[in-house]
């Protein structure tokens, strides 16, 4: 029992890293799915505070065509630290590490309207041409309200 506990505690999770091209291809490949892409970092307090909200939302919409993606913008060189951080949290939603190094380029690729401030959340539904970024924090009910008010998806 103790051995099992120790081995669980020492379990190091591994997170996939993505280039922005891959991320973009993925969130535009399914035209009828609304992607809720949250950009966060281990050093960003309001981001960390809202991760469980995104996870709750993910659980609530698990049978809907809505996909939550939590994209870490921590430096890819800090991968081990980010993985240890996520390992301590029981998140069900998918977490990926962004592997890009020139923020003055890739921030604009995500959205020209994004200043680079985090937390930031991008809503994309390619089939309806929906693409909108918010520089704000969300609770799970804020996410629901924003989606239903804009008619971006069935909840």
């Amino acid at each position: 029992m103790i051995t099992l506990f120790l081995s669980l505690a020492l379990l190091q999770i591994q997170l996939p890293s993505v280039k922005l091209n891959d991320l973009e291809a993925r969130i535009t490949a399914a035209p009828d799915t609304l992607f809720v892409v949250n950009f966060w970092s281990t050093w960003c307090k309001p981001c960390i505070a809202e991760l469980p909200e995104f996870d709750d939302f993910h659980r609530m919409v698990s049978n809907k065509p809505i996909k939550v993606l939590l994209v870490s913008v921590d430096d890819i060189k800090d991968r081990a630290k980010t993985e240890a951080f996520i390992g301590k949290r029981n998140l069900v939603a998918e977490v990926v590490l962004l592997n890009e190094s020139k923020p003055q380029e890739w921030i604009n690729w995500v959205s020209p309207e994004w200043s680079g401030a985090i937390p930031a959340t991008l809503f994309v539904r390619s089939g309806t041409g929906t693409r909108k970024i918010y520089e704000t924090t969300f609770t799970s009910s804020d996410l629901r309200d924003t989606i239903s008010a804009n008619g971006w998806g069935e909840l």
């Binding site: 970092s41 050093w43 960003c44 307090k45 309001p46 913008v73 430096d75 060189k77 020139k102 923020p103 003055q104 921030i107 604009n108 994004w114 200043s115 680079g116 401030a117 985090i118 937390p119 930031a120 918010y134 520089e135 704000t136 969300f138 009910s141 804020d142 309200d145 924003t146 008010a149």
Partner: protein, 206 residues
């Protein structure tokens, strides 16, 4: 019916809060006249654009005690001031985050930080967030480089200090230094707007 109306009203209020941060005033752009302001420095004195009337320009940096990304730049911001203030381009640090929400950003904590790190530049408290709104500052650190011209202060560069937040040694492009060099040579900055990841300024509830 009344219940429906109330529900709708509640929804609108909730959504209003979410959308508020999304519709922050756009602020200034390159070539705009710099908005004037008046704010209290950690030494108790009031600072405004007139405080810099004899300078060639001002390097305004929106900073935040609470933000590791901002503090990672502190030494570089101090170095910028030490290098450029003697040439007429001093730094002005501005803290705008809501101290009610983030106690690390209170005026008292700003004084402590400035003393601890021996800031050689003024560090003022934007208590109403009016300066951040007027300039369109969004994150920390966020730089607005002002050039002092015959017609007043003009915004000439908006963005990051340089291209590598994590490692000062590995910086390839020093955006602010390049912009000052270009302005000193009488040309417009080669790169007038850059973007970087940073902590959002913590906005007061609307």
């Amino acid at each position: 019916m009344i219940r429906l109306a109330l529900t709708t009203l509640t929804m609108l209020l909730v959504i209003g809060r979410v959308i508020a941060a999304d519709t922050l005033p756009p602020g200034v752009t390159i070539g705009d006249k710099a908005p004037d302001f008046s704010a209290r420095n950690v030494d108790g004195k009031t600072v405004s654009l007139a405080s810099f009337r004899n300078a060639k320009g001002v390097i305004i940096v929106f900073m935040a005690n609470h933000c590791p990304f901002s503090t990672a730049y502190e030494d570089r911001i101090i170095a910028l001031h030490k290098k450029y203030a003697p040439e007429g381009w001093p730094v002005l640090g501005i803290s705008s985050s809501d101290a009610t929400e983030e106690p690390e950003d209170s005026f008292e904590k700003m004084k402590e930080r400035a003393t601890e790190k021996e800031y050689p530049f003024p560090y003022v408290y934007d208590s109403t967030q009016a300066i951040a709104h007027a300039y369109g500052a969004r994150r920390t650190p966020h730089v607005f480089l002002l050039h002092n011209t015959k017609t007043g202060f003009v915004v000439e560069y908006i963005g990051a200090v340089d291209d590598n937040p994590r490692d000062a040694e590995a910086v390839e492009q020093k955006f602010v230094e390049n912009a000052i060099a270009d302005l000193t040579h009488g040309t417009t900055p080669r790169q007038a707007i850059t973007k970087a990841i940073g902590c959002t300024i913590i906005w007061k509830e609307q």
